[in-house]
């Protein structure tokens, strides 16, 4: 574990992202959300609270996933393309250190974007007296863990494919995996002989829907998710991202640059 190296690499990713004004896109999106909410407010908000909250978590989930994919997919390919990789690899760090540092940077950028969007959305909804319960905090935490998984597989794809191909596949996996997972469960229930194959595919696919507590957060009256569930989500997120990091390293460790 080379923590000083991880910190240096992650800081570089965050600084580059801030200065490249990537986060401005997030700010503009937030502004659009505020504007849309004020329009709803103009027509009267009564009875629309749940709809507004549902919209908010959907938009939050979607945009934060897009940001996670776009940030992570270009980390390694950009280093190779811009030839900034050489002075990095000339330092006494391993290629795994490099991947870990870059992934941490991508996660931090994604989290900042997500929290900015969440804050702006919450502000917009609070203006119209929409109530939040404590489960909203759990929703945010679970979503942030889910974003680590998205960053992990997006970076892994980018090591094996071109940046555009990896972004496309990452989008398909991020948004399509929950549907596929549900389909596989139904398929296995209908035909038990398919169960082993379905289980294997389900193990390989990222279970991003596990991290989505949006449904509970939208409707009032849901209790808090037990701590052990949050602990499981944390462990799953850590294991899956670790596995993706390992997959990235398998290719990158001997890749000629």
């Amino acid at each position: 574990m080379n923590f000083p190296a991880y910190r240096a690499l992650a800081r570089c990713v965050v600084l580059e992202s801030l200065r490249r004004k990537d986060l401005w896109v997030v700010a503009i999106l937030g502004f659009v959300i505020l504007l849309a909410s004020s329009t709803l407010g103009f027509f009267g908000f009564k009875g629309l609270e749940i709809f507004a909250k549902d919209m908010a978590v959907t938009v939050l989930g979607m945009f934060s996933t897009i940001i996670a994919i776009l940030t992570s997919c270009r980390l390694v390919p950009d280093e190779v393309k811009n030839r900034t990789l050489y002075p990095l690899l000339a330092r006494p760090i391993t290629r795994l250190d490099l991947l870990v540092g870059k992934l941490i940077g991508a996660v931090v950028v994604t989290w900042i974007s997500f929290l900015m969007l969440a804050a702006l959305t919450a502000l917009a909804l609070t203006i119209f007296h929409v109530k939040f319960e404590l489960i909203m905090v759990q929703y945010l935490l679970a979503k942030m863990l889910g974003l680590v998984v998205v960053c992990g597989f997006s970076m892994a794809f980018s090591v094996y494919m071109t940046p555009s191909a990896s972004a496309t596949v990452a989008f398909l996996v991020a948004f399509g995996a929950p549907m596929v997972t549900r389909g596989l469960v139904l398929a296995a229930a209908g035909n038990p002989s398919l169960t082993p194959i379905c289980k294997i595919i389900n193990t390989v696919l990222p279970q991003t829907s596990l991290f989505d507590l949006g449904g509970r957060a939208v409707y009032l009256g849901w209790g808090l998710v037990p701590v052990w569930v949050m602990g499981f989500l944390f462990a799953y997120g850590l294991c899956y991202s670790g596995a993706m990091l390992f997959v990235s390293w398998l290719k990158f460790r001997r890749q000629a640059v």
Binding site: R83, T84, P87, L89, A90, I93
Partner: protein
Amino acid sequence: MSSAIEVKDLYVQYKTKKGEKLDAVKGLTFDVKQGEIVGFLGPNGAGKSSTLKALMGFVEAKSGEATIFGETAGTPDARKRIGYLPEVAMYYPFLTPMETLTMYGELQGMRGKLLRNEIEDLLEVVGIAHAKNKLNRSMSKGMLQRVGIAQSLLGNPELLVLDEVTSGLDPVGRKELRNILKKRQEQGTTLFFSSHELAEVDMLCDRILLIHKGKFVEERDMHELKATLRNFYVTYRGDASMLGLTDAWNENPDGTKTARFEAKDGLVSAITRLQEKGGQILDVVSQEGSLEDYFIDTVEAAA
């Protein structure tokens, strides 16, 4: 003197996009002693950058052995002792030189005030202290090359591996760089660099290694090579027959003759002969030979 770099029978192979195998380095063997400045020469595509990349661990050698101060080349332990300047200096466009060097320093294991002070000193040495807080994207190619030189010197490495070191620098920058490198050598740093700039090689190197098409061609001590390349010219009035040992002679428009000698011995005996036979010596000139001619001739002979 122990070796800073030792390369034995090194082979580097690339796979093209079509899946064909391309041998970039074929059985290269050489060593660089500690404290030496060694120039690594060869025409385009000779395998210089591939060799340097193998030394840094950017590409894996197909076979052979390369060590840096006894450590296997490419390992973090070996890289800890190397400062490396890549052929094309590209640095994060949205970082400043200060932030860029801070990151590299931290990756090198340095931190705090010590790192900050060293960065300030290095930026001063390479002449971009005034631009330390400007974004890299707003800098010229020459200034970026200076950032690159500064990052290669971070942590006071024992070995500097420099790929096309003077690329992008103006004559003033080149002179400053030569001074920096000479100073580092005086402090005990070993320098191994590739270059197309034969004038730089001439002014900096103790020794040169010449490769062509991935194979070793020859190594020469620079002082010996320069002595070999030196020519002596005698301009005299008299008959051509007065000089038995002449390698070549030219008749000048004013009727005088100029003879060329490759060795000092030949010159001395020619002068003696001229004096004995009543010839009038008008001028004696010693001229440095061209490294470029040597380079072209040697490469052509190796092709």
